[in-house]
Symmetry: C2
Subunit: 368 residues, 2 copies
Amino acid sequence: MHKTQAWLADGRECTFYDRRPMQRDIPADRRSLPARPAAAELRFDVRSGRWVVIAGHRQGRSFRPGAAECPLCPSRGSAATEIPAADYEVVVFDNRFPALTMAGLDPPDLDAFADPFGPAATGSVPAPAYGRCEIVCFSPDHDASFADLKPDQARLILDVWRDRTEILHATPGIEQVFCFENRGPEIGVTQPHPHGQIYAFPFVTPRTAATIAQAAEYRRRTGRNLYDDALAADRAATDRVIVADESWTAFVPYAAQWPYEVHLYPNRRHRDLSSLDEVELDSLATIYLDLLQRFDRLFDTPAPYVAAWHQAPAGPAGRDFAMHLELFTNRRTSTTLKHLAGTEIGMAVFSNDVVPEQAAERLREVAV
Amino acid sequence: MHKTQAWLADGRECTFYDRRPMQRDIPADRRSLPARPAAAELRFDVRSGRWVVIAGHRQGRSFRPGAAECPLCPSRGSAATEIPAADYEVVVFDNRFPALTMAGLDPPDLDAFADPFGPAATGSVPAPAYGRCEIVCFSPDHDASFADLKPDQARLILDVWRDRTEILHATPGIEQVFCFENRGPEIGVTQPHPHGQIYAFPFVTPRTAATIAQAAEYRRRTGRNLYDDALAADRAATDRVIVADESWTAFVPYAAQWPYEVHLYPNRRHRDLSSLDEVELDSLATIYLDLLQRFDRLFDTPAPYVAAWHQAPAGPAGRDFAMHLELFTNRRTSTTLKHLAGTEIGMAVFSNDVVPEQAAERLREVAV
């Protein structure tokens, strides 16, 4: 993997990633861009104990432009996009409308803002929304999808996620790095060009904190690791396993929340992507493509999906955590979606109409 | 408030609620209905510590039927609907496709199923999905919406929610009663007839458990009640207050998760709807209608919404809890929705593009 660093006209970083060493001469980004927006706000909700990003500047962002105006395509001819080069393999750059940013900010002491006796309790002093939101362009081909990529391109993207995770974990004030892809308009994607996102959070997120608490309680009671024991149970439940090899196991979770949901774990526990070895990485590229291709074949048109890479927080809190992928679609049938409403949003209780063992059977059937 | 009890052809309960005592002779439900489906499954996810309802029988339920086949209209002429009478004011009946049911079940010992050393850890033994899912028809008028109702009809519905809450709280094995309305196809509503739902859960839900934990920690540190202090701060933040009177305060929360989100609290703390007095109830009917009418006027067409009544659990855990309404729309602009995807679902971190103070200003502007 080879990196070439560039900067966009408004000062954002833009990093070109290539499979092999090469000399890239990146033309200067000559666009006249407005100044980067002021940082959004992090507001702490004292009743739930959660942070919310309030990002008023995002309300005006672009919505599903046509290919001619795609900001994620290479800059060719007269088109000046977010990527100031006529080609790329994979490129990572700072989101122009970021929920979280580091520009001009020092890491805030969030504990002071989360103190219910502190300024947040009165609603008068939000914290700056420190962190980072990056875009990862998976391919220069506007009409590609991740599932279409060659294994070596998928492997390059894995290496990019590893590199960004290491860099962001080492950044002051960053607690957790989240690589993910939202795919399809039904899930709210505004740019059809194949891309993912990386969020670097200045706090441990609620989902991750909750599972870490479960693992800590399990260790206290048993001296063992929750994820190891749970994965052993999942591997034994062969009616829920989709695909497995020496390094990885993909299965529908016992208590799946979504119509079609697959979790992919390395058989050997890792905190995050950075410690995977070459065998695990090559196998992961193959299995991940296989899973995405199955999601494309579940229905008569490719299913919308979220692919979320769960990684341990940077600090000691994540000692017991097991890195894994959670991949799901919100499509229930060819013509119906699973909507989140009263029970899911109001009470955080999911009801799933597709039985996990049947979802797994279907996902085994649609193998390429 | 007056009640008349009836039963549907497959044995489900159906209760007619009227404002004044009256003699209702409910015709027998002569439909030939299939037997009620077997109970769904409650599956415990050991990694997150959450229950999920697996309800395979719901995949085949009816989807947005036309008015001629509406199951929530009164039975008139040859139409035999879920309500075996030619008219009603408000009617409550058991959902035909329930996520949770009591039919033929004893309350399960869920702690045994949630034990990571117990049967759930192996994925082999789900708990029966004990509980109750009720439909509340708000009006016999198929084309009405809650916002259109007269105050005395809204007041009747409040009394119905109070009555159901008391009955269900007193039912063995029920821990929490959740009254809510999902409105609009954009939020996933399958029946356009104006109606709400009531879920009686056999456990304290994750959302409620999380806020109770926050309140317990606050009491430990201060000896005071979190909700009282937080409400005082919200009432003082007049730029976020929408409407208030002697009994109630409606405001956009400081850390709102949704584009337009309103929380409505009684100024005097209550655990649930059942302890509200006559003055509070009459005022609530008026203010609730006012808020729903504002949501109808936010955009050029009525906004989809979720109206969620948060109530304390039945047991002592909810001692500090403050009953309140959370009302929000997932519409961001006239033509765009707020979708939940990677960050919200994967990490439980919301990013909101509409600044709460600006949302409040808009909600004050659209007063009737």
